[in-house]
């Protein structure tokens, strides 16, 4: 029998980003014992990188804002595929969740009258993003971390979970290892919350870190849960493109929120050329109107640079494909131009966008107060994830909850900027509350040694194999290359069929991967173990994208360029059947409550 350490908690939270921390805080405050596991050190999760802000209808800057407008904006952004109940809860509860952060020590930028300042972002009708310069995620995660460590939870840093353990239908624990020493751990828990974030490492050009290998998606899938909306992967319009080693690193939408413009090699502000009907009423007619909007003029409408991300990304791809790109296959994003408008522009930019200023200065030798940046789309966020109950965040498997980026439902076909950080808070809190409740209402399950032994064997397999010459890094790189090429921003049937073949082939090669060294902090081994979940999420994205024969939100097919009415009322779910195959279902979008339908109409 393999050796492992045993830990026991009422609620086990997997992931210590915004969602996991918020869930752990809530569960702790409900008086149950909580374990919190994360692959990195505490405070280093993706949430730390978020820049632009957290969306909440506080109405501090524009008193016409309110939860119903936020709700309508989210539904419109999601092309009406979002779960309306989640969109409602999110819009209603986000303001309280943000104010609560302030009570825990967060210091957001202020309005002149001393309240939380809010900024413009794409797809939000009014200035809605509470922020701290362009390091909002850092403020949020540090606040949650510093508050959380005093709530009595046990934190397991640099631990990776590789399997969920079940007792009958119910999830009753998890198996993993500590990265430092490679020791195995079995966690028994009455309820498990997945808060593992996204899948961006399945693509080559990405703003996401090594952690984003779709672990939560894969764990849930293997445990029998349903995945939802996996075809919707958000490509953020503005990532760095030069130099090559920084390709994909995010350039916050905040740059455009502060007045930054997108131009092509001909100097044309191409976003004015293509404004979708859904947004015609809300978009500026002239550059001047756009500019005064960014400076807070309430009568003005937003510039087309602040249209939703899916649309802006596609316009950029079009410019590049049609030969109007910048030298390194991007377009220009210019904030320096505002010196024509503001006397102290240089200082203003450095104050509003300090980390962008540093990022470009240090990594690309570009002074954004003087010259334009070159930018292009980068894989950023996955709208798809674990299908959960809107109110409780429980998945289709009893005892298994999910929140944050690894859960699905709120964002539909496209997420609005700033709606992720608020999602983490609102649904992290709910997951924590309901998981604690579930834990109180249910006895401990039994850990099945057989499942543990199987997980141990699978985890050690890469050491036991003869050297086959297969290197885990090569397989990961190849998967990323091919996913980018075949299931990226512009998709078609043939490419995606090809992708499925490639994934199959790579999966077989992954079975042969061998690693050297020992179990102590061994990146080769870790990368080999990550491959399984990466393959699952890649396959899920490709299959769902094949199924959706239309273009909508972040999902664009050149063989079906238009929206299709039928698909407009369908979500795609996926699960594993008993033979281990991925099964796809089309499920009708739930019909919306009347009062909410009326709100959407009012805000058309």
């Amino acid at each position: 029998m393999a050796e492992y350490q045993h830990h026991e908690h009422d609620v086990l939270v997997i992931g210590a980003g915004g969602a996991g921390l918020r869930a752990a805080i809530e569960a702790s405050s409900a008086g149950v014992s909580v374990g919190l596991v994360c692959k990195s050190l505490l405070g280093k999760a993706h949430t730390v990188m978020a820049e632009g802000g957290v969306a909440a209808a506080l109405a501090n800057v524009d008193d016409r804002d309110g939860w119903s407008v936020h709700f309508a904006d989210t539904m419109r952004g999601g092309q009406y595929l979002s779960n309306w109940r989640m969109a409602e809860l999110h819009a209603r509860e986000a303001p309280d969740r943000v104010r609560e952060l302030e009570a825990w020590g967060a210091l957001f930028d202020r309005t002149d009258d001393g309240r939380i300042l809010q900024r413009n972002f794409g797809g939000h009708k009014y200035p809605r993003l509470a922020h701290v310069g362009d390091r909002t995620g850092l403020e949020m995660i540090r606040t949650l971390q510093d508050y959380g460590i005093h709530q009595g939870m046990e934190v397991y840093m640099e631990h990776a979970i590789v399997a969920l353990l079940k007792d009958g239908d119910r999830v009753v624990g998890a198996f993993g290892y500590d990265r430092e020493r490679g020791r195995f751990r079995v966690f028994r828990a009455k309820a498990v919350i997945l808060a593992t974030g996204g899948i961006g490492r399945a693509f080559k050009i990405t703003s996401n870190s090594w952690e984003y290998t779709g672990d939560g998606h894969g764990l849930a899938y293997e445990a029998g849960a349903e995945l939802l909306d996996m075809e919707f992967v958000q490509f953020h319009p503005t990532g760095m493109v030069w130099p090559p080693s920084v390709r994909g690193i995010l350039v916050t939408e905040g740059v455009r929120g502060e007045g930054g413009t997108l131009t092509n090699s001909e100097g044309n502000r191409f976003m004015f050329d293509d404004i979708p009907d859904l947004y015609k009423n809300q978009t500026a007619d002239s550059p001047e109107e756009g500019w005064i909007y960014t400076q807070g003029d309430k009568e003005a409408r937003r510039p087309p640079e602040l249209l939703t991300r899916d649309h802006v990304a596609r316009c950029i791809v079009r410019e590049i494909r049609e030969g109007r790109g910048s030298p390194h296959d991007g377009v220009y994003l210019d904030i320096a131009w505002i010196k024509e408008k503001l006397p102290n522009a240089e200082e203003h930019i450095k104050r509003k966008l300090p980390s962008m200023y540093h990022q470009f200065k240090q990594l690309a030798d570009i002074d954004i107060t003087k010259e334009a940046m070159e930018v292009g789309p980068t894989t950023h966020y996955v709208m798809g994830g674990v299908l959960v109950d809107a109110d409780t965040q429980m998945s289709t498997v009893p005892g298994l909850f999910a929140a944050g980026e690894c859960a699905a439902g709120l964002h539909g076909a496209n997420r609005l900027g700033g709606n992720s950080l608020s999602d983490l808070l609102v649904f992290g809190q709910r997951a924590g509350r309901y998981a604690a409740e579930f834990a109180r209402e249910n006895e401990n399950g039994t850990i099945d040694e057989g499942q543990v032994e199987a997980a141990v064997a699978e985890t050690l397999a890469p050491f036991d194999r003869e050297n086959s010459g297969e290197n885990p890094f090569d397989i990961q790189y190849e998967l990323q290359d091919r996913m980018q090429e075949l299931v990226g921003i512009v998709r078609n049937e043939g490419d995606m069929q090809k992708a499925l073949e490639v994934i199959d082939e790579l999966r077989q090669r992954a079975q042969k991967v061998s690693v050297i060294g020992n179990r102590e902090y061994n990146p080769g081994w870790h990368t080999a173990l990550d491959l399984k979940f990466l393959m699952i999420v890649s396959e899920a994205v490709a299959r769902a994208a094949l199924e959706r024969k239309e273009s909508r939100g972040a999902h664009f097919r050149e063989d079906y360029e238009d929206k299709d009415e039928e698909f407009g009322s369908i979500n795609i779910t996926q699960h594993r059947n008993e033979d281990g195959e991925m099964v796809i279902n089309r499920v009708p979008v739930q019909s919306i409550r009347e009062d909410l339908a009326a709100i959407i109409e009012e805000n058309r």
Partner: protein, 253 residues
């Protein structure tokens, strides 16, 4: 493209040595890219921490040619070309493996610092009002990404190994962020003086010089804290006031 040579520390906490590697360098590469390339080409078990690759998470701290740096923000083109580049783990902490050190002490030490304790909300809507001007100095401290490079260079920790007596510059910054927070009512001055060893800092400013977030650690955080400690404990009037204050400091906020 040019080839660059590296000497990278390989080993666990007990033994180890520098090993030589070389790899091709492309335009714009940073040290962390080179380390990753070496990992993929010839040393798959080379241990290194990273997350954001953009100077935001503070994971990739190491000593590059003897200087404490974030590897993801150190451009290859800024390093001398004619000699091998040395990369080794931070020295103020025990090595776990290769470039990865045991920084858990920082987390344990932080937990002992009294948490944020706000005064009662005093605005009509049940929140607070704060002026931007009044929060700016605390916002400077809250830029900290917990890279622990300042801890690494502070001689009190690095040379004298006084981790039990002195919490180090990072946690001084954390204390300052709490003490100068316009809403906070906590009192940490006694702890700073006694348990956290603020007196050990002799204002060499080495910490300030390496902070990648350009936080003016010494001038803006430590010196004002030192002044507060002096004012609180060595000024006779304040000593008297303290006796009264401590009586009602237990009131809930």
């Amino acid at each position: 493209m040019a080839t660059a040579n590296f000497r990278i520390w390989r080993g666990d906490g007990e033994t180890g040595d520098f090993e030589n590697y070389s790899t091709e360098i492309d335009e714009g590469m940073v040290v962390l890219d080179a380390v990753h390339q070496i990992q993929a080409e010839s040393a798959p078990d080379l241990a290194v921490r990273w997350n954001c690759k953009a100077g935001k998470c503070g994971s990739c701290s190491a000593e590059v040619n003897g200087n404490p740096k974030l590897m993801c923000m150190t451009r290859m083109s800024d390093l001398p070309e004619d000699e091998a580049i040395t990369i080794e783990p931070m020295k103020a902490f025990k090595t776990i493996r290769d470039l990865v050190t045991d920084v858990s002490w920082n987390y344990r030490a932080k937990e002992k610092i009294k948490p944020f304790k706000p005064r009662k909300p005093d605005a009509e809507d049940g929140t607070w009002r704060m002026d931007q001007e009044d929060i700016e100095r605390v916002q400077e401290f809250r830029k900290c990404i917990e890279c622990f490079l300042c801890q690494d260079v502070c001689h009190v920790l690095r040379e004298h190994d006084l981790h039990e007596e002195f919490i180090g510059p990072r946690l001084m910054v954390h204390n300052a962020a709490l003490e100068m927070h316009p809403l906070d009512t906590g009192d940490r001055l006694g702890d700073l003086k006694d348990d956290q060893g603020i007196g050990y800092c002799n204002i060499t400013k080495c910490c300030t010089n390496v902070c990648p977030e350009e936080i003016t650690i010494t001038d803006n955080a430590i010196i004002p804290l030192k002044e507060r400690v002096v004012g609180e404990f060595y000024d006779p009037l304040n000593r008297l006031l303290r006796i009264f204050k401590s009586k009602d400091s237990d009131e809930p906020a």
